[in-house]
Symmetry: C2
Subunit: 467 residues, 2 copies
């Protein structure tokens, strides 16, 4: 007689096409959390997920209000009080996408082509969170139940740094009470090398705004005696970096936990070569702090990026103005043990100290998120490793993620449970960029791996009780 | 019996309101020459002017094709072959304008308020060119003729640096043959101090484009080892200026004709104080090359301005990308004897020499225009001075204009006639900016001054014949 997880895996294979078509429905909703004009779409995505959870048997699923976009919560406690409870976290919001950014097909009209699903949110994170819904459905439909209890916590504000999630968790600690949290919102280099992420970078995101004249000026009449705000911005931004590509903000690196020789060896297992980096990104050459390897630079070292910059006229033809304003969005990726609020203070202080008196300069905090570091020798981490071996077909590597899931540090702190980051995406999925996609093969292997992980966790609990 | 010019002046006063309402019609046409989407509007403005000229008695007026936007030509030769011929140049195209730039009323719906006409093009140059049409009409209607012949050359590409005007003039030297060219496309500091412009700055306008990765990248996954194109742009732009605010491009100042002590005295008569500059522009402080006065910096010295700059995301909320591209529009205002093509070569060479190998950098020429310098002791210049004294009511100052009318140098070179720049605008009219306007009082005084100038030129020709 096949085991419960075998029945569920078989069911998931038999219903693969329907699962994908359901995912397409979710991908069609432009749930942009950062743009107030899309607030209704964000809510629509939440309602869609709550209804989907109810339909598959998680009867108490509901959309719960926050001060911002809502949270979808649902729980299946049918395994009983003696079994472990898994909290699945995911996010159903997405970053902006527009045809003019270089999309080959409309970003909110999912297309399956060459074995991939193309759509904004396909891999980040709608496709990955949907894996956990379909894993549970496969158990419930094929065997009448799952080996563990499962709770879902799906938020709509991850892309704007989850301002309401930590307060929500704090207010609902009893409701959310679980033994472990699983998050699938990360990626691997290649399908043969699944990755368990044990570290994430935090973030300090700021906006810099410069005002020169009260209106745009005619460059012929006022040019030569007016400090051009775009030039003032350029002068300030150029002073944020050292010639060796490190960050010139005093105190910026003070709290960075140094990499140990042992950890550098683990990171070296997934080293990115110059050629791989160029192939993946299209840059003419790599760049950065030469004292660290490429993989270390993109995952274990802090950064400061210009995410956007604007001033004056960018339309067709010439326009001879001195712009009234200039601005930039800047964000730092932070590593343990940097504090995002402290980094904001350092950035603000430095920028204000170098700001010229010929313009008005404002430094505003947009958002922050803490970095996270989870021990990779935890039994729940090792169970995740076995789940990949059994269902995905390859032994995973442990990696540091360069991105940020700000809530990871908060869940560890507030709920006192480990967070296991089992990513099912590929580094080349193009998330946050044009033509974001998710490999169909990985979507289905992900569902089977998520099925097996519940089995592994149930086994781990049993072994602990027996011991 | 009143003189011919007195009759014309009286007529212009009696028809003041109608003249303004006709101008409103012209201002309603969004004749943006730099935006291909508005090509039909540019043509519509040309047709409107040709019809208006015909209606007032310049029967042969017509819209003439060029490779770009058309030229309106018309002539009234009724004064006869013994009388001088005045060529009136003006432009009916405008720069872009949109409510979101800070306009209080729609830029193409003229509004009269507090003695001013608010509309894009009100002062630059529709209002100023219309003065010459109404001056001739006033003679024709009140006295059956004018004291000189008048030709009109009205173009639709001044704001994109007149790419087709010099070829048109070269091809129509006989048609355009005149004794003097008059242009009203400049301004004065205050109504009591009319200005005759004897110098204009030229221009080299370039666009700088930087490509890093092939698409926008997720800053968490690739940040730290990718040269951010916005940062590369910042690094390049910051190296175009010296700490003393001069331009750091090698050879840039080589050909600049030095200011003589005598000319610096003339310029000092219209000095702009720090307080006046701050009041007019709203900047916290002035800026620039401390070896020159403010007025010298904005009119007699070359500049390099950032007119626009763009990269990545500028919408609401955070977006954590490394942009694929960054770009800037840059323009130099040039003075005698700088050559715009040579300056382009110097800019391109310098930028390419400092461009990093980690990104792709392109420097494109957008447009050029030569600087101009006309002797202010010419009899036609002195006649203009008398016309202001008689009709405007104040003796004018001779000034250097900081802006560019690229065709001035070309008319002098090709037609071998002087160009007299009699501006009727105010420095504070906000041309090229939000809420551009033209004082009603100045519009009407301008018509009377233009009427009297024809009288003065006829007198000058008679005196020359008698001599």
């Amino acid at each position: 007689m096949p085991s419960s997880s075998e029945k569920a895996r078989k069911y998931s294979r038999n219903h693969a096409e329907r699962f994908r078509h359901q995912l397409h429905e979710l991908l069609r909703i432009p749930s942009l959390s950062g743009d107030p004009a899309h607030a209704t779409d964000v809510r629509r995505a939440a309602e869609w997920l709550a209804e989907e959870l109810q339909a598959m048997g998680v009867k108490n699923s509901r959309v719960m209000a926050t001060s911002g976009h809502p949270i979808v919560y649902g729980e299946w406690m049918g395994a009983g009080p003696g079994k472990p409870t898994i909290l699945v976290y995911g996010h159903y919001d997405v970053v902006p996408a527009a045809m003019e950014d270089g999309w080959n097909t409309p970003p909110f009209e999912p297309v399956e082509k060459d074995g991939k699903i193309y759509a904004r949110g396909a891999t980040d994170d709608k496709g990955q969170l949907f894996i956990h819904l379909k894993a549970l459905e496969s158990y419930l439909e094929s065997d009448g139940g799952a080996p563990t209890n499962v709770k879902f916590l799906l938020e709509g504000e991850e892309e704007i740094s989850s301002p309401n999630l930590a307060p929500f968790i704090k207010d609902h600690l009893d409701l959310l009470k679980s033994d472990i949290c699983v998050i699938s919102d990360s990626s691997m280099r290649k399908i043969e090398e699944p990755a368990i992420t044990y570290s994430l970078r935090g973030m300090t995101y700021i906006q810099l705004e410069i005002q020169g004249p009260k209106d745009d000026l005619h460059s012929g009449f006022w040019g030569g005696a007016t400090h051009n705000p775009a030039l003032a911005l350029v002068e300030i931004l150029s002073q944020l970096y050292n010639p060796d590509h490190t960050i010139a903000v005093p105190g910026f690196y003070d709290d960075v936990a140094p990499l140990t020789a042992e950890e550098r060896k683990i990171i070296a297992k997934t080293e990115l070569s110059e050629a791989q980096f160029k192939e993946a990104t299209g840059v003419p050459a790599t760049w950065g702090d030469a004292r660290y390897t490429i993989r270390e630079r993109v995952s274990a070292r802090p950064t400061l990026e210009i995410n956007g910059m604007w001033s004056g006229y960018s339309g067709p033809g010439p326009k001879t103005i001195i712009p009234a304003k200039a601005g930039a969005k800047l964000s730092s990726r932070l590593v343990a043990n940097q504090d995002p609020e402290k980094i904001f203070g350092l950035l603000k202080k430095h920028i204000e100290s170098i700001a010229p008196q010929t313009v008005k300069v404002q430094v505003k905090l947009v958002t922050t998120g803490k970095p996270a570091l989870i021990p990779f020798d935890l039994p729940e981490m090792q169970a995740a490793s076995r789940a990949y071996e059994r269902a995905w077909g390859h032994k995973p590597v442990f990696t540091r993620g360069g991105g940020s899931i700000p809530i990871v540090a908060d869940i560890v702190d507030m709920m006192k449970i480990p967070v296991v980051m089992m990513g099912y995406g590929l580094d080349s999925d193009g998330l946050h960029a044009a033509n974001e996609h998710f490999a169909i093969e990985m979507f289905h292997r992900g569902i089977e791996t998520a099925i097996v992980y519940l089995d592994e966790l149930a086994g781990l609990a049993q072994a602990r009780m027996a011991a």
